[in-house]
């Protein structure tokens, strides 16, 4: 009796294996792959991109699709881990994906790009800001609808030195790929400005998820920093700012687009007041952006999250390029991306030779009365 159940279980397992193990589904559709973290602790950075893709595809399919074919969405989770990202990439390539929207994290993108490059598939990321991805020239199939980190860091440094006119700056990061990369650029630019214009009094990483940050905040105070430049995401930023303000420190806090998120204000509440953060140029007045936000609210019942506008723009750009190119051929799509302007929530954009989007840059924002306002 016992072993009959085991044999049954074994057969069932084999059956399931064969069922799910099958290869690509054929079909006359345009396949748009969406890859990013959809589960795990970074899910809140990946899910808005999925929503954006879903909405764009719905709209386009309602208008007849691309090149007369329906667009099919292939959503894969990479939990922002490079080795999972390579699995995701091979899966998408195996399923015959035509273009990919993703990945979200720079590390995962780096790992997956080699596979897409071999398979000649265009990849566009709404959030991978690592400069080397376009500047190294290693990935001609990579595009992005967000400016790279060195531009952000330069903006932050220039703002601190020239607008806020401070000299002693503490540079902090969250020891992550994105945050540390940004912080290192900031440090480089600060040091390049010369010792009489800028002084990096502190350059350290904080441990995300720690229970208390008073030690590092004390250190900032002790070193006499006039401003803090922080590379990282909003959870850590809000914890640090909160502790700083509770200790009645008036130090300026300048951060990056990982912090320029409404969630930051909602979490840090009154302590968020006065915080500076760089972010993509303000698109809230752009009619397409407003429409995209409305769509999201209607479909999912909440405000869109991180990188939503960028992802929306990327999806539009990719599908538009296929339409303009007249085929899903790699070279045709690349050419279309570089030559055609496409109307997106980020404005009218097209892409340069390296893959960066022209017309997409960063601006400095400050929290005033509970909202991020662009600083002119």
């Amino acid at each position: 009796m016992k072993h009959r159940i085991s044999v049954l279980a074994l057969t069932a397992m084999v059956g399931v294996f064969l069922l799910f193990g099958g290869t690509a589904l054929a079909g006359d559709t345009i396949k748009l792959g969406v890859a990013g973290p959809h589960s795990g602790d970074l899910a809140s950075y990946g899910i808005p991109t999925v929503h954006a893709a879903e909405l764009v595809v719905k709209n386009i399919n309602a208008k007849g699709g691309v090149l007369g074919k329906k667009v099919e969405l292939l959503v894969e989770d990479d939990v922002c881990k490079p080795e999972v990202a390579t699995n995701t990439a091979t899966k998408l390539v195996g399923e015959g994906v035509n273009v990919v929207l993703g990945h979200i994290c720079s590390g995962a993108t780096k790992a997956a790009l080699g596979i897409y490059k071999e398979a000649k598939i265009v990849v566009m990321s709404p959030s991978a800001t690592n400069p080397a991805l376009t500047q190294s020239g290693d990935y001609p199939n990579f595009f992005r609808t967000i400016a790279s980190d060195d531009a952000q860091a330069k903006l932050e440094v220039d703002f601190a030195l020239n607008t806020l006119k401070v000299k002693k700056i503490a540079v902090l990061h969250d020891k992550g790929d994105y945050g540390k990369g940004l912080a290192e650029y900031a440090k480089k630019f600060l040091e390049a400005a010369g010792p009489d214009k800028a002084e990096v009094v502190l350059f350290e990483g904080i441990t995300p998820g720690a229970v208390d940050y008073s030690a590092i905040v004390q250190k900032i105070k002790r070193k006499g920093a006039e401003a803090v430049i922080f590379g990282g995401y909003h959870p850590e930023a809000s914890k640090i700012v909160t502790q700083m303000r509770k200790k009645k420190m008036k130090t300026y806090f300048i951060s990056d687009d990982g912090v320029k998120d409404d969630t930051f204000i909602k979490v840090a509440k009154k302590y968020a007041e006065g915080v500076y953060a760089t972010g993509p140029k303000d698109v809230s007045k752009n009619p397409l952006a407003i429409k995209a936000r409305e769509e999201h609210k209607k479909a999912y019942g909440s405000d869109p999250g991180a990188f939503y506008d960028n992802a929306y723009a990327a999806a539009l750009a990719l599908l538009n390029a296929i339409e303009k190119a007249g085929s899903t051929d790699y070279d045709a799509i690349v050419k279309a991306l570089r030559t055609n302007l496409v109307d997106t929530p980020l404005g009218k954009i097209k892409f340069d030779k390296r893959g960066d989007a022209i017309g997409v840059g960063f601006a400095m924002y400050q929290v005033k009365d509970g909202k991020y306002v662009e600083v002119k």
């Binding site: 020891k175 208390d212 030690a215 004390q218 979490v267």
Partner: protein, 300 residues
């Protein structure tokens, strides 16, 4: 001097929080020799339950202090319930299994609870309102330490006292000690071992829940993942102090908290965890059973 004091107090805050979680770890370990990986998640669930209750009651417009009290009570009740259930479902059937099986089961429970909260609630970081009142007489110390932190210290101390009294002077405490010493023998003298073990889990979870509410108020935000990191730290602290010993858990937690704080303050925040672990290794080399641990004699 100010700087040193600040770092000292910062370390005390960290240590107190670790202590509240480490106590639960050490109690469970003392009784069934299981590293309850899911303990950190119990702490996280306490924080989430409190947040849910706070949100509902705030909407109904109740008084702040009342909300805090009810939320804390709710956190304790539900965390204990989760701890109790986890024990009955995932650990009890494995009482006589090889040592590592309940450990893997605990890992499964930990992962399950994390994803359960993730799916049932959200992956976002949720702001947690600090309802701990600002005591007027503590105002002048405001620059160095705030009411919330003082409350944390005081609560930890009170909990330690209560638990020590419980273990040393009550009948249930005696039963717990007996079960920890020799389970079969305890059964022979009439101790209802199942009940004692359940009770231990309940008390441990309650302490963790309390820690959850306090730290959420202090930090101001919670997320489904906070249990894992805090759990590992608390586990290190418990081992450092001698696992199975309650004053050891508190001592280990405080030592860990101060080590991290001072290292960050005087050297670098980059390697604070590295230093904490190296410190642990060093202590264990010279005292293989932890600072206050009883040296385990092996009988052949």
């Amino acid at each position: 001097m100010d700087y040193f004091l600040e770092l000292f107090l910062g370390g005390l805050t960290r240590g107190s929080i670790y202590a509240l979680i480490a106590l639960g770890y050490t109690m469970v370990y003392g009784i069934i020799e299981l590293i309850n990986f899911a303990h950190g998640e119990i702490y996280m669930i306490g924080a989430f339950t409190a947040l849910i209750v706070i949100s509902v009651l705030t909407m109904l417009g109740w008084n702040q202090l009342a909300i805090l009290a009810i939320a804390t009570l709710a956190a304790i009740v539900w965390s204990s319930a989760y701890g109790f259930t986890a024990e009955k479902v995932a650990y009890k059937p494995l009482r006589n299994a090889p040592r590592l099986s309940p450990l893997i089961s605990a890992i499964g429970v930990s992962l399950f609870l994390q994803n359960y909260v993730l799916l049932a609630q959200t992956s976002d970081f949720l702001p947690f309102p600090n309802l701990i009142p600002e005591f007027k007489f503590l105002e002048p110390l405001g620059g160095i330490v705030r009411s919330t932190e003082i409350v944390i210290y005081v609560v930890t101390a009170i909990v330690l006292v209560i638990l020590t009294v419980l273990i040393k002077f009550t009948k249930l405490g005696k039963a717990m000690r007996a079960t920890a010493q020799d389970r079969d023998m305890a059964m022979l003298v009439g101790v209802n071992v199942d009940r004692v073990i359940s009770f231990t889990f309940i008390v441990g979870s309650a302490t963790a829940a309390l820690g959850g509410v306090l730290i959420a108020s202090h930090i101001g935000q919670i997320n489904f993942y906070i249990g894992f990191i805090a759990g590992i730290k608390a586990f290190v602290a418990a081992v450092l102090g001698g696992i199975g010993s309650m004053p050891g858990a508190v001592l280990g937690s405080l030592v860990l908290g101060w080590t991290e704080s001072f290292f960050t303050g005087y050297i670098s925040s980059d390697y604070e965890d590295v230093f904490a672990f190296l410190f642990l290794v060093l202590i264990l080399i010279f005292r293989p059973s932890g600072i206050l641990g009883r040296a385990n004699t092996d009988k052949v």
